[in-house]
Amino acid sequence: MIAELGHFALVLALALALAQAVLPLAGAARDNQAWMAVAAPASQGQLLFIAIAFFALMQAYVSSDFSVAVVADNSNSAMPLIYKAAATWGNHEGSLLLWVLILAVFGAAVGTFGNNLPPKLKARVLAVQGLIAVGFLAFMLLTSNPFARLDPPPADGADLNPLLQDPGLAFHPPMLYFGYVGFSMAFSFAVAALIEGRVDAAWARWVRPWTLAAWIALTAGIAGGSWWSYYELGWGGWWAWDPVENASFMPWLLGTALLHSAIVVEKRDALKSWTMLLAILTFAMSLVGTFLVRSGVLTSVHAFASDPRRGVFILFLLVIAVGGSLTLFAIRAPSLRDGGLFQPISREGSLILNNLLLAVGGVIVFLGTFMPLFADVLHAGAISVGAPYYFLIFNPFAALLIVVMAVGPLLPWKRADLAGALQRLTAASAATVVAAGLVWWLKTGGPLFGVLGVALGVWLLMGTLVEYGERIGILRAPGDAWRRARQLPRAAYGMTLAHAGLAVAILGMTGSAAWKQEQVLMMRPGDTVSLAGYDYRFDGVADVAGPNYTATRGTFTVTKDGTPVTILHPEKRKYPVQGVPTTEAAIHTNGLADLYAVIDSPDDAGAVSVHLYHQPLVPWIWAGAVLMALGGLVSLSDRRLRVGAPSRRTAVAMARA
């Protein structure tokens, strides 16, 4: 009964979405206030009905109602409650429902809190959001109904993929989707502005908080996914350039570019058409990611469904949304006039370079991801693109971006003195050279990119700190620095935190890629092996039983020069329902490095295949990502974004002042 209620709520949501898409758009074109006023309540109603559908599905999972097909396929009565709830989005249908739920949350947020938006802009933004919702709700109802029943229902469910039975599943997909779907706001604002034919500083100010919120969530989602693959897949790595990882990374690259170009629109009334294009493409990449995961054109561990009918439907949505908006762009963008003039060497210039490099990075990842598919279609034979491609092609551009990133914030708007800015970075350069020299000396014979990576990380970190120090005048007037620091806008702190966070993450990535050490061997109880100065004594294995799995748990006593460091308990779990084993890595971190142990099931003689890793600096990757997300949050709390622009004219005047 509850499942049918959910199904019915979805149909109602679709009807409301249709109304939200059509009426306000027509109303805005004909100056009909009443039609435009439909948008806000429709967006709220849509949220209500989709939430009803979502919780109806969750209820079916939590109560193990195996007469609902997706529950029977993806759940089991023996699963812990948290995974039953999280399994709601651990499959194709349920994750789509989460997708539209988040879309509805964003739409209702604009409908409810967007009172300072000009009525026409608000109506059009909500209409575009409504259109996206129509597409995805129709997709669900026509091809992927989450409430389909089974008759007769099975006695028990087929279980959730054991790899997904992890606390990470509860947080990773919602975060990621919040990011993907959040970029739909920038998209809707861009399409609305293109319909209106007007983009100004006020527009940029309205778009930025939404973009920033999506960016924060996507940053956290990507970092969370990489953390999950690090500890759950037991391969000792944290990023594999897997197509689905790339699908999240491409919108992140473009979204990051969008965040920066929107600043130029807001403060300098320039780069408008480029910003429109980025807003469209960022969301397009989110949709491409959806297409990639759900159509089976490229496989991956994440692939939910390989049904060509679904693939065609998503492609159709993609063509309508992206093709339509890009056509609108081709018609309207040429008439957008940029106001602010500037020299190539200026803050604007550096942000353009930032955008260019991020966009090139996005193109490289896109080509790397889809080249196998393109080559196959062209009958050029099947090819595969792996980590070496990204290492050789992507990393140099990323490195250039980092080099510029330390300089850009030091340049003033309009016209800048590059030599002067570089001079102010003398301390940062000195620190970079010292750090690189130190690494060279400490790790002689190690890979060269290790030295370069550390140099880049230190350069960016120091450059960011120098910029902050100059802002608060720590050297010029130290007595006044505290007062200045307090008065600095939160957006400035956000930038400092986010840039520093990236620097920290780069140091972490470099450390793990350049100096990871590992040992693979068979061990018997009592054996000791040493790795990177730590002695690992294998104390044997024990069988343990979990709620819905059995596991072999190994015990390693780790000592350094005789003093105990930690005890590691890696596990090999077996989930009987699906018969799939999973690896639970045991990780001990000391902040500077991770000690990482993985075991396999013991053989008849009691020996166990052991894989040990010493991962220098790896925790810094996630520490850096947390800093970046935190920087975004601090920036989001800036008064300027919270209050919003009171009206178009004053906002423009303020931006020009």
């Binding site: 469209i280 089976g296 598919l373 034979g381």
Partner: protein, 190 residues
């Protein structure tokens, strides 16, 4: 996008530039559509190089008493080129099969140590034995990229004319795969 402050607005070429994104998108969408109906299993990763001459390379020897490997050493007879590394667990599992394949197939195996420390690779061979007739070191992984490998181990059957005749993707760790590889070696002789 342009930084020129005084660009003339609304001229023809600029209009065409604004059309570029949608044109590119249409091209990509057509690719997607064709790919949806393609029957290829995306999991399978055959090499684009099969049937083509092996790429050029010269690799320094790993062991003092065994020569390195270069492109010039290929050709004349059927040869197996095996990429391996001491850090690679499947290579360890594959190792015992290599010696048998060399014997049963009656052909030399050239080893290429992929992105490994020479000491570690020597210790690996000292522990497990050496089935290779020549061993070259590919420290940088360049030769691996040129061969288009996606991981280690990977094994290539080189025909007498120096062409890549077959590519074994992934390790040979069971008798069926071993027999299949031996059959391919036989085919490549012809």
């Amino acid at each position: 996008m342009t930084t020129a402050p005084d660009r003339p607005a609304g001229t023809r070429p600029r209009h065409l530039l604004y059309l570029l994104p949608v044109v590119l998108f249409v091209v990509v969408a057509v690719y997607f559509l064709v790919a949806l109906y393609s029957s290829r299993d995306p999991q399978e990763v055959p090499s684009a190089l099969v049937g083509k001459p092996a790429p050029g390379f010269t690799l320094a020897p790993l062991l003092p008493d065994l020569p390195g490997v270069a492109r010039a050493d290929l050709g004349g007879s059927v040869v197996l080129v095996n990429f391996f590394a001491s850090w690679c667990v499947p290579c360890r599992a594959e190792h015992p099969y290599l010696g048998r394949i060399a014997k049963d197939g009656g052909l030399p195996i050239f080893g290429i140590v992929y992105k490994d420390k020479p000491d570690a690779a020597r210790a690996y061979l000292a522990e497990l034995g050496n089935p290779y007739a020549r061993i070259g070191m590919d420290d940088s992984g360049r030769t691996g990229i040129d061969f288009g490998i996606t991981g280690v181990p990977e094994t290539f059957v080189l025909a007498p004319d120096g062409r890549i005749c077959y590519r074994q993707w992934g390790p040979v760790t069971d008798d069926d795969t071993e027999q299949a590889l031996l059959a391919k070696i036989k085919e490549c002789r012809r």
